[in-house]
Symmetry: C2
Subunit: 223 residues, 2 copies
Amino acid sequence: MDSVHISLEMPKSAKPPVRETYRHGDLRRTLLEAGIDLARAGGPDAVVLREATRRAGVAPNAAYRHFASREALLQAVRAAALSAVAAAMEAELARLAADLPPADLARASVRAVGTGYLRYAQAEPGLFRTAFAASDKFLKGTPEFPTSGPGGLNPYELLGAALDKLVQAGVMPPQRRPGAEVLAWSAVHGLAMLVIDGPLAAPVGPQMYQVGQRLLDMVEKGL
Amino acid sequence: MDSVHISLEMPKSAKPPVRETYRHGDLRRTLLEAGIDLARAGGPDAVVLREATRRAGVAPNAAYRHFASREALLQAVRAAALSAVAAAMEAELARLAADLPPADLARASVRAVGTGYLRYAQAEPGLFRTAFAASDKFLKGTPEFPTSGPGGLNPYELLGAALDKLVQAGVMPPQRRPGAEVLAWSAVHGLAMLVIDGPLAAPVGPQMYQVGQRLLDMVEKGL
DNA sequence: TGTACATCAGTGAACGCGCGTTCACTGATGTAC
DNA sequence: TGTACATCAGTGAACGCGCGTTCACTGATGTAC
């Protein structure tokens, strides 16, 4: 009997929702992080207010002190996910040798942005899907919940900056520049979506990196 | 009072769920079509067993005579959507002039497949999202619910056939052929996803066709 | 330094909703004799 | 041609679930005097 009782309580015990103070401290942050965990595990639909409050060890309605609705929490989670995508891109950019000839550096920058995108999609498929879910019509964040990475640019802006370099280095004719974001983004986004949880998961997933590089070859040649 | 009562009953009256016979006739088909309508309007999540039975004018549990679960109905809807994508591709292929030189015809075939894909995505975003939803790991249909179009090939096979032509016509070196589906598919899929309901809906949606053609230029050059 | 009080972050209980699914049933249909 | 009966497509009622959200509340905190 006792052991049954214990085992029933155990699963929740990793982060015990017991609180000694009446006030929580930083419920806003805690709820956001719970939301991020939920999205990580199950994508946007898994971001559920009640579950977030449960994890925070707080009554369900306490969330309404900090978020106007479930949708507001979801938007905050989205912003965090977009910011993480930007960070992944920046990490790839940071690996580039700064002393490359401008043309090579420009090309490598575009690849780095794409590679960061794909890496993040594979490393965090749930958050990736949350960031770019069907109903996500805006990449813009808010002062409180920014979508930018450490460098201050969001993923779209990072891609744009890399493409600008391509023009500045004389690799891409200026008249091709407008709208180039859309083409490059489409290619990597499609691969990410098809691979992380779609019909190409099984056949392509394991070689995601190689296929991604080949895709980026295509983009580079085709742009 | 009366008018309130009437107005409350009105919304459902378009297709009255009244049935004069005890047996339905073809409930399987009717449920599938209701499911398709639901997916059309709201994507995969909108495919709800109870709503489908409601529209068929039948008790909720009657669905279980024909589908083992909600998931089974959803799979059938998916298959129908994939079949419609294939049909859209075939329609584009059918518009090609058959007397083109082989190389031109091959190139045009790949474009036609991509154009059909993008057209369908724009015309039926809900069904498109259902066909390629996150958890759709298989494009294969069943004898009862095929994913192929009138010509007998499913969308993936149609793309493969078009790429084969490219090799046969000497436009693409054979060693580039393996895996080419993934690259081409990724590009159009990404554009479709970003445009139909995502962050590019507003800026790009209206010029979907032109952007699509430019994307296909990129793919053609880059492959 | 101490006290009164406004502020506001949490609680507790409940609401209505819609879902997928199961149970025991009933009525129509088609087939065997 | 008529009847008994098996088959099976539907019904009716109910289940347990989990959700978002609202209400009136209570307890802790910080500030003004």
